[in-house]
Each structure stands twice: as structure tokens, then as C-alpha cells.
């Protein structure tokens, strides 16, 4: 009797978890399919290689926005990852007393600041005084947005490393810093990196801060000190335009953005699988 009940409960729970999994996965596929149907199927090589066509003309591409997004995210990573990572190491391994809990609280607050507010702030500090929009300002705004999550994921994953591993290393004569660098961080690095990836994917789609900082540009943006196009900002402008061709391009840009995020994720996972295999 009890046996039977157990079996039934087991089957029910198994199917429930299965249904939920299928549901979540299918949402992703529906979004991908929708993007594809509405625009990405018109994707041509031109989209990746050409500048936007002059207003009113059909065709053209978003090569400048793809490169622009790449540059913005590179800057964001260069700012967000080191600050977040080192801050997280400090909080997890060295922080005692009142200061770290203050830092933690501030970080959570910063994480809750709406992106448009970060945009205005970046505008006030980095754009207005210099009288021009720039890639630099955009990248810094996105980088600041990355810091809280980068910091908290680093901290959480480092805290997850068992104390016994730290003791094992220190019992062999490793200093605290050495223990952290050679045992604790390697043990947590996969989690930290995937957290950073998610963080990057999150800011990759941010539009509001870019409208105040890198503005947008229908041409190439050489260097780091000029306004630049970026995919989310192009999607915004193209989607609210009156032209059908631009709508299709907005969908295509959405598809490309999503594909890039997925690609970064997959590459990161492959790299991680390789390194973890080598490291054991």
C-alpha cells in the first residue's frame, strides 16, 4: 500500500518537474522563433557588414552597432569584473566588522538603482562636463551596473568553498593570500565565471543608460571618445520608427543580440570545461 503511494507520488513529482522544465525551455524557443520569424529570416550578410542605410532607403546593416556593442561590453567587463571580483574576495575572505556589511548593503542598493538613473548620473558626470557623448561614458555606465552582481556572486561562491580546504592548504604552510589564490578561488572559479557571464548578458541588453551616454550613431565610431551605435539602442530606435524595413531590422538585431549572449555563454562553458578538466 505504502509502496504504491510512494510510486504514485514519485511519478507525479517527476512529471511535474518535467512539465516545468519543458515550459521554461519552450519559452526560450518561442522567443527565438518569434524573433526569427519577424526579422531574423531576412538577415543577410549586409546586416553584419554594412552601415545603416540613409533614412528612407531600404537595406543597409548594423555593422557599426555590433562593433559598438562589443566595445561597450569590453569596457564594461574591464570595469565591472575586476572591481566586482576583488571586492568579492575582500568581502568573503578578509571582511570583518562593520565596514564589510556596509559595503554589502551599499552594493545591494546600487544593484537596485534603476538603469535609467545610472544613465542620468553617467550623463551628468561623464557627458555633460565634456560636452559630448562617447563609447567611454557608455562602457563606464554599464561597468558600474555590472559591479554589484559581480561582487556578490564572487562573494557567495567563495563563501561556498568549505573551510576544510582552506585549513588543508594553510596546514601545509600556505599563507592566507596564497591559500586564497591557489585553492579557494580555483575551487570557486566556475561558479564565479558563470555568474559574471550572466552579469554581462544582463547589461548587454541595457538600453536606457546608453541613450544618455553613447547616444547612438549612424556611422562608424572610431576610437573610444565618440558617440557610438549599440544593438539595444538601435533596436529601440528602429522599433519605434514608421518603416517596415526598420522593424524587420530591429527584430533581426534582437535575434543577433540574443545569439551573441548565448554564444558567449557557450564559449565560456567550453573554456571552463577544458580548464577544469586540466585542473582536475
Amino acid at each position: 500500500m505504502l509502496q504504491r503511494r510512494r510510486k504514485i507520488v514519485n511519478v507525479v513529482m517527476l512529471s511535474l518537474t518535467g512539465v516545468c522544465t519543458v515550459f521554461i525551455v519552450s519559452v526560450l524557443f518561442i522567443i527565438l522563433g518569434y524573433l526569427f520569424w519577424n526579422g531574423a529570416r531576412y538577415l543577410t550578410i549586409n546586416f553584419f557588414t554594412k552601415l545603416p542605410a540613409p533614412v528612407g532607403e531600404e537595406g543597409g546593416g548594423m555593422a557599426n552597432a555590433i562593433v559598438g556593442s562589443g566595445k561597450l561590453l569590453l569596457l564594461a567587463t574591464l570595469i565591472g569584473v575586476p572591481f566586482g571580483f576583488l571586492g568579492g574576495v575582500y568581502l568573503a575572505e578578509y571582511g570583518t566588522g562593520i565596514f564589510p556589511s556596509m559595503v554589502r548593503y551599499m552594493t545591494d542598493l546600487l544593484n537596485g538603482v534603476p538603469s535609467i538613473v545610472i544613465g542620468i548620473f553617467a550623463y551628468g558626470v561623464l557627458v555633460a562636463p565634456r560636452h559630448h557623448f562617447s563609447t567611454l561614458a557608455g562602457g563606464m555606465a554599464l561597468g558600474v551596473m555590472m559591479v554589484p552582481i559581480a561582487l556578490r556572486t564572487t562573494e557567495e561562491f567563495l563563501r561556498g568553498v568549505p573551510q576544510s580546504l582552506r585549513e588543508g592548504a594553510m596546514a601545509l604552510g600556505a599563507s592566507k593570500a596564497r591559500t586564497i589564490a591557489t585553492v579557494v578561488i580555483p575551487a570557486a572559479i566556475r561558479g564565479i565565471l558563470s555568474g559574471m557571464m550572466l552579469d554581462l548578458a544582463r547589461v548587454a541588453g541595457e538600453t536606457a543608460p546608453l541613450l544618455f551616454t553613447s547616444l547612438g550613431n549612424r556611422f562608424w565610431s572610431p576610437g573610444w571618445d565618440k558617440p557610438t551605435a549599440a544593438l539595444p539602442e538601435m533596436i529601440y530606435h528602429y522599433a519605434i520608427s514608421p518603416y517596415d524595413d526598420w522593424h524587420r531590422q530591429a527584430w533581426a538585431a534582437g535575434f543577433v543580440l540574443l545569439a551573441l549572449v548565448l554564444l558567449v555563454n557557450i564559449v565560456a562553458r567550453l573554456v571552463l570545461a577544458r580548464t577544469s578538466h586540466a585542473a582536475g
Binding site: T96, P162, Q163, S164, L165, R166, E167, G168, A169, M170, A171, L172, G173, A174, S175, R178, T182, V183, P186, A187, A279, G280
Partner: protein, 278 residues
Amino acid sequence: MSITPEPETIVGSINQEPLTSSGSAPKQAETVKLSTDRLSFHYGSYQALHDISLSFYANRITALIGPSGCGKSTFLRTLNRISETIRHTRIDGQITLDGEDVLALDVTNLRRRVGMVFQRPNPFPKSIFDNVAYGVRVNGLARGTSVREVVEKSLRRAALWDEVKDKLHESAHALSGGQQQRLCIARALAVDPEVLLLDEPCSALDPIATAKIEDLLFTLKDDCTIVIVTHNMQQAARVADNTGFFLLGKLIEFDQTEVIFKNPAAKETEDYITGRFG
């Protein structure tokens, strides 16, 4: 290096007062390698150790026995000061290694000299090879030897080499619990410690591996002072020269193993050894 007197000629002085180093020493002629003097330890406000005075003799094996929770691990962990890594703890009293004040020594140097194998196996999430090589890499290597040689030698000494020689670069976490414990022993041996602290090293091992580890302890005696915590009376009787009995954070009795097991002075010791409590 030291003279071993005949067991019969020595009479340990045993009482329930905090033992003084002269009173507790079973043998006068031996060199004291490591000793504690009125050592107390607090976890926060909880006092886990009370005035422990105890000497470990060079090239001897000392067993620490006592019921669960009596402070054996805590005591062991003060000896290499790994206890300091836990917040809100306090050590009082004195620890002396080769005449030097342990509490004043550079802690990384101390831990290189005083190796430790923990109660629960704690291999690093690295390859088997990198686990054993870790201490060597951290401390720098003796001249003229290669990391590979040290790793092989250490694994052989820990009776693990034959089982892992074909998978040195696989993850240490793929090993069984007993293999992991022997890996931790190998890891500790790789840095050639002067004192080796073993916290129940055989609790996860089968009788064959246990026998191998015990053999290893006998060979290690030549260049090492060994302290072993064990719940296994037979093991203590087999391997240890001296034995200390702990109860509720106090050292009740410390003497030659033979005396402890055949003719203990304290009633508590006798009760524990004959299995009447604990």
C-alpha cells in the same frame, strides 16, 4: 638519537591535578620535541581545553584517546595553530617546539614543520598529482629533487601509489573516502614535516589500508614525531609509545601506552578503556 629506557623502569606519575611537565614525563632520558604548558582553549566563551600540559617526545608516537567531544581535535589543532583560523577563539598557555615558543613563531613556517592530517579527508579539487605537490610548490623544493619524485615517494609511503599511479592527473575527488584520506597523508608527508599530527587517520580505512598506515607510522618514527588521535584502542595499543587520555577538555592521564592500558592510575581511564563509558 635518543635512548629508550626499558618500560619497566619508568613509573609515570598520574593524578588528576593539572600535570606538570616533569611529573607527566614518562621518561627522563628522551628529547622533548613538542610540549604544551597549561594550555587552555576557548571557542567564544566556551572553554574546550583546560590547562593541558603534555610533552611529545622526539621520534615517538603519542596517541590521544578519549570520548567524542572531549577536545582531542581541538588540542591537536592548537599545536599547528590552525585553530587560529576560526574566529573568536583564544589560546592561553604555552606551546614549545624545539625550545621555541610556537605562539611567537612565523605561522607558515611552523605549519611546514608541523604537518597535519584532518579528521575528515579534505583533498583539494585538483588532480591527485597537484594535491601532493601542493605543499612542495608552496614551500619551495629541496635542491636536486623533482616534484615528480617527491609526489611518487609520498604516495608510496602513504600506501596509495599502486592504486593511483595510472591516474595521477585525474581529480582527487574521484577517489574513495579511504583513498582520499591516504592522499591527505601523502600530501602532508610531501613537505617532510618534523612533527605529524594525525586526527583519526584510519577511521575511513579498511583493515588492510589501516595496517599499511600503521606500518608507515613505524617507518616515519625515524625522522618524525607523531601525534595520533584515535578512537580505536587496539590501534593506540599497537602503535603508540605513549598515550594520553582526555575527558571533558582535561588531560586525565598521560603515560606509557603499556601503563595506560594495563595499569591505569585514574579510575576514569580504566572505565574508558574497559568500555564502561564514552
